[in-house]
Symmetry: C2
Subunit: 329 residues, 2 copies
DNA sequence: ATATTATATGTAACCGGTTACATAAAACAG
DNA sequence: CTGTTTTATGTAACCGGTTACATATAATAT
């Protein structure tokens, strides 16, 4: 690999001049620049980013910590982030934390040591003090903003009310909710939205809460169980995977969806279109969330002014067959 | 951020001694080491990885180029790679190429400039000469090994024969194949497997080939089209997404799956369990493929001997409802 | 004609580590 | 008791860029 000194020698100039040509700053004579460029070409010279990073303390790299990329909510989010960062010439280091704070801490330390210019965190275990003392630009994604970091999240509470109200609107009166893990803030928000809507409809009943863990299989079992003892005509699942689980359970019991039991999920991941019947869901603007978070981070890194620190994006109800009781639409 | 010189000063030794403590090499007196460690602790010193990289020319980082992380085949693969690399203390830079060679080339150049220790490539547009001249450890994943790089792939040809034979085994005689894009080598291998099996069964007919592009929607349309003109009692889809498309098409036409038309997919991604009926599929050992590729890369990077250069992993038939004609199993 | 400013280029320190080499004391051998 | 080896530590060059500063010539102003 050629270095800047090789280029300088071949062009008959000093390294400073080559550097000036590369960075297009300072004074360089036109003729000289041509010679330098020719030398660069000839040697197929590419500046060493590491040396640059060491001196400039900026690596054009960011860290992205997600719980688990194989959870179908995240690929699109990650894709959005990578797309935007790529436009601004940043590369993305991907880390899976499994929601474990030690793993997260470890990753954050390593990322800091590698001089990443910033991080996007998608996590529940956020230890704010630890993150603060990293003293690195941070954006928090898909998590609430009870802190001073810029954040992007969808409106979980409102989405849950929307879903519940929709089931009510199609005639459901015994609406169960499959709740996500209690340690996941978003899952709790969705639960609160469901609870408040149910209360305001006068339909609230503790017994209608089904405990889920965001996984299909467990949700299916829990729903099978719940349907033994409870009369239910609508199910609002805390995420799409659990909605599929509910669907399978209901079908297994020989009940019809949506006639006997209507089902709505949450997230709007692609698989909701793949089931039969297709699942209604509350769709989060996943790509947009990622893209906004990435742009926020770039602004933070480059020291630009940030007009809006916290984004709460609207969600939309997607009506599909699993809640369509008026026949084919 | 504290530097090694701060530590040296506080401990009253030279930077060389601190470095020796950090890297556990050379001679260091026990007492001295204690003092140094205390100073490190006190200053919360973390060595600067970038400086280290510059000198040692190894960054403990690898590049991973995939076509598109939001394609459901890749998240699990990426997860496996990240898991294994994490064990060996490497971080992973994720790049989406969209199968475009310019984008790939760009990424590879940037990665090289950032001194990544190696790359895992998952791509069809592989320009071998360009990759060769990077002169960096490479592992090729999910792509055939018509080259000198270590590679990991599943047995597409055999899997396709297996799928076809399975449909035959449950009584299908008019077996259609939804083919993936012609420029995707794996899709062609699957097609060849289908063709050869059909020929050896004496069932081969050009007309049974349906052109797909790996997407659900297009496959659905193509199948709707095909079923107008052709008698078909079995469909082997080139991937799982297209199998879902086929399922939707068949159901829309009022035909029963598997009784009228049996369907089998390819890949074994999670969504095959989420449809109704659940889809039979040829399952690739996705996680294992990623893990093996990662371990191969580590060996290559660390200059260890590689016993086996090319891995062709076996696939397995997963029988589910979409090809089960003997009733509930 | 001289002072001032713009243009052009080079030298060397610096970023924060690693390590070859030099030096010296301690331990051991003959 | 001297020579060799082992242990312990420091100095400074090096990795490959960037940039502050010095220097010099050309252009412009006074």
């Amino acid at each position: 690999m050629a270095t800047i000194r090789d280029v300088a020698k071949l062009a008959g100039v000093s390294v400073a001049t080559v550097s000036r040509v590369l960075n297009q700053n300072g004074y360089v004579n036109e003729e000289t620049e041509k010679r330098v460029r020719k030398a660069i070409e000839k040697l197929n010279y590419k500046p060493n980013e590491v040396a640059r990073t060491l001196f400039k303390k900026t690596s054009k790299t960011i860290g992205l910590i997600v719980p688990d990329i194989s959870n179908p909510f995240f690929p699109e989010l990650v894709r959005a982030i990578e797309d935007v960062m790529n436009i601004y010439d940043y590369t993305v280091i991907l880390c899976n934390s499994d929601e474990k704070s030690e793993k997260e801490k470890q990753y954050m330390d390593v990322l800091k040591q590698k001089y990443v210019d910033g991080m996007i965190l998608t996590t529940n275990q956020l230890a704010i003090e630890e993150v603060m003392e990293l003293d690195i630009p941070i954006v928090v994604l898909d998590r609430p903003s009870d802190h001073s970091f810029p954040s992007v999240i969808a409106d979980n509470y409102h989405g849950a009310r929307l879903a519940t109200r929709h089931l009510y609107g199609i005639g459901c009166r015994k609406i169960a909710h499959i709740q996500g893990p209690a340690h996941v803030v978003n899952a709790m928000q969705r639960f609160y939205g469901y609870r408040d809507e149910m209360k305001s409809l006068g339909l609230w009943e503790e017994a209608l809460i089904i405990q889920g863990n965001y996984q299909l299989r467990q949700a299916k079992e829990a729903v099978l169980q719940a349907l033994q003892t409870n009369q239910v005509d609508g199910i609002f699942a805390g995420n799409d995977a659990m909605a599929v689980g509910a669907l399978k359970a209901v079908q297994q019991l020989g009940l019809r969806v949506p006639e006997d039991v209507a089902i709505i999920g949450y997230d709007g991941i692609p698989l909701t279109e793949m089931t039969t019947p297709e699942l209604s869901t509350i769709s989060q603007p996943i790509y947009e969330m990622g893209a906004i978070a990435a742009r926020l981070l770039v602004k933070k890194i480059e020291g630009q002014f940030i007009e809006q620190l916290h984004y709460v994006l609207p969600v939309t109800l997607i009506e599909r067959e699993s809640t369509n009781r008026r026949g084919k639409s």
